[in-house]
Amino acid sequence: MVEMINGAVDVEFQGVTKRFGDIRAVDNIDLEVSSGAFVSLLGPSGCGKTTSLRLIAGFEQPSAGDVRIGGASVVGVPPYKRPINMVFQNYSLFPHFTVADNIGFGLRQLKPRLSKSEITARVGEMLELVRLQGFEERRTWELSGGQQQRVALARALINRPTVLLLDEPLAALDRKLRQDMQIELQTLQRDVGITFVLVTHDQEEALSMSDTIYLMNEGRIIQMGGARDLYDEPINRYVADFVGKTNFFDGEVAEIKPNGAAIRLANGRVLYGRNPRGGVPLNRNAGGAIAVRPELIHIVKANGSACLTTDVQTTARVKNRIFLGEQTEYLVMAEGFGDILVLASKHAETVSGGFSPGDVVSIGWEDSSALALENTSKGDHSTAVPVPK
């Protein structure tokens, strides 16, 4: 068990850049992973997530900047001298070893050498932790994907690293198993008290598992914060688009308000949105977007008994309906707005009786549910500031 030191920082990037030829895989990144935290690096394919992990593990050296572990610079320190272990994307189990020998590999490298019985005992503990008792003598290719994943996990944990790095550890698993393993990983992290840095391109995975998320794009960090921060307070259009589903209404900034802005759409209609916490206020006469999450939009039968009292209202025609179980997703077409995604809860569906394609409906939302966002589709480095708590 590793003692959790409050406020201690395990991994730190100071202006780290990694170039491969002309490509800046990682571009001037600052990052701080505090001890005992579960941190995710989230972003689309090719944004530099794996490269960042490899910089922490020591497989890559920064082209500029400083990588610090436990407060000390580790630039030039090879992987085998870092108190850090990694679960590789494809598990990479040793084919010439049994499950037990795979898991015990790290222990066998220690100096002074451990006794055989001690290694066996600690391998046994790990097998228990990942619930693989009885698999000691199995060959790695006789295991299912989920079992291989657990062997890789046990192998990386056995030396009790300060930080465990996980590169898309669940990507190869099917949906059900992935959800089980997500819960298992979270539980495990709490039990062992080791700092986890997880790489994923799956926003749901990042949102559900981690304390802190670094959202990346093109080698930069766009926004850092908790799941709620990224979902409720995306600092620009890119973040809102990447994290969860959102409706965007693009236009010109018509007016700057104390805590938000009004944006004039192409049809002349003016929509109001508040500034996200930590976001940069919009500029007058520049482009901007109003963003509204689908679950914050109300939907009722047009001219029915229930009537909307929201700040924004419009009529729309239902184009499509997708039953998602706990919710129903409608795609509606509203004059002057374009296509709008609306999520109706089970409860709302029971009250309204549901809608079919072709139905005319009224939809609406409160101004306080809408955000006024910068129109950058890419992340601009100047906005990469942590969300104040």
């Binding site: 497989f59 085998y80 590789f88 990479s92 040793f94 010439h96 049994t98 590999f105 066998r108 490298q109």
Partner: protein, 274 residues
């Protein structure tokens, strides 16, 4: 069903000639040369007469194999793991190019290189006089290593090429320094190629005839040369057969010993030969 023709071929091609030789080896030399039936171990009792051929073969063949391994492994490793996209095809071609001309001609070239006009001449220039190279065991060894190196490089290269390079990173990540990574991961995982290459080279070397004939000049001769001499020159077929059977016996013993050692070393993992 498919097994039957395979078995027949096996019997016809491999076992039959051996049986014939074995029967010959128990016979006597006909007065005019050749074979005349008998049932005697006299030929085997006489083996010591060709002791030199056996000692030469049994020192130079294993030594040649070991030198081939020592040179081929680093080369194959560089080729498979370190070489860039540009250098790799070029280096592979270099390994294969010698096969484009006849082995005989290439070995003749070595007669010149090792002969009086070749390397000894160069040594003279830097003041080393009277250094004889051609027709010495060293010359034969050089010829052997030159001729069989590609046969060692290729199987090792293939097994290293197949090796998942991320395993080397895993090893390093888990605390193994480069030397430990080599002995715990790289070497065991390339062992099939190493075993294949060693057996290939060793077996062929045990029967080698051309290189000692040309570069040994009758002074450094192998069992293969003795056989040619016995069968074609002195036409002593029974004695030649006894020598041949003894060589096969030694070879089988050596290979069995080698595979047992390798197999035990690699624990429970199957040893794949060829």
């Amino acid at each position: 069903m498919l097994l039957l023709p395979t078995t027949l071929w096996f019997l016809l091609l491999l076992v039959m000639p051996l049986v014939v030789i074995a029967v010959y080896s128990l016979g006597e030399r006909a007065p005019a040369g050749g074979y005349q039936p008998a049932l005697t171990l006299a030929q085997y009792a006489n083996l010591l007469a060709r002791l030199k051929a056996f000692t030469n073969t049994l020192t130079l063949a294993p030594l040649g194999t070991v030198i081939c391994i020592v040179i081929a492994y680093p080369f194959a490793y560089y080729l498979a793991v370190k070489a860039g996209r540009g250098a790799k095809p070029f280096l592979l071609t270099l390994v294969i190019i010698p096969f484009w001309t006849s082995f005989l001609i290439r070995t003749y070239a070595w007669i010149y290189i090792l002969g009086g006009q070749g390397i000894p001449r160069l040594l003279e220039m830097i003041g080393i006089e009277d250094y004889r190279l051609i027709y010495t065991p060293t010359a034969v060894l050089i010829g052997i290593v030159y001729g069989y190196l590609p046969l060692m490089v290729l199987p090792i290269y293939v097994s290293l090429e197949k090796l998942d390079k991320s395993l080397l990173e895993v090893s390093s990540d888990l605390g193994a320094n480069p030397v430990r990574t080599f002995f715990q991961v790289t070497l065991p995982l390339s062992a099939p190629g190493l075993v294949t290459g060693s057996l290939l080279v060793f077996i062929l070397l045990m029967g080698e005839y051309l290189i000692p004939a040309l570069l040994g000049g009758g002074k450094v001769y192998f069992v293969g040369n003795a056989l040619v001499d016995l069968f074609l020159q002195s036409r002593n077929w029974p004695f030649g057969s006894a020598v041949a059977i003894t060589l096969v016996g030694i070879m089988l013993a050596a290979i069995t010993l080698y595979l047992t050692l390798v197999g035990r070393d690699r624990g429970r993992q199957d040893v794949s030969v060829l």
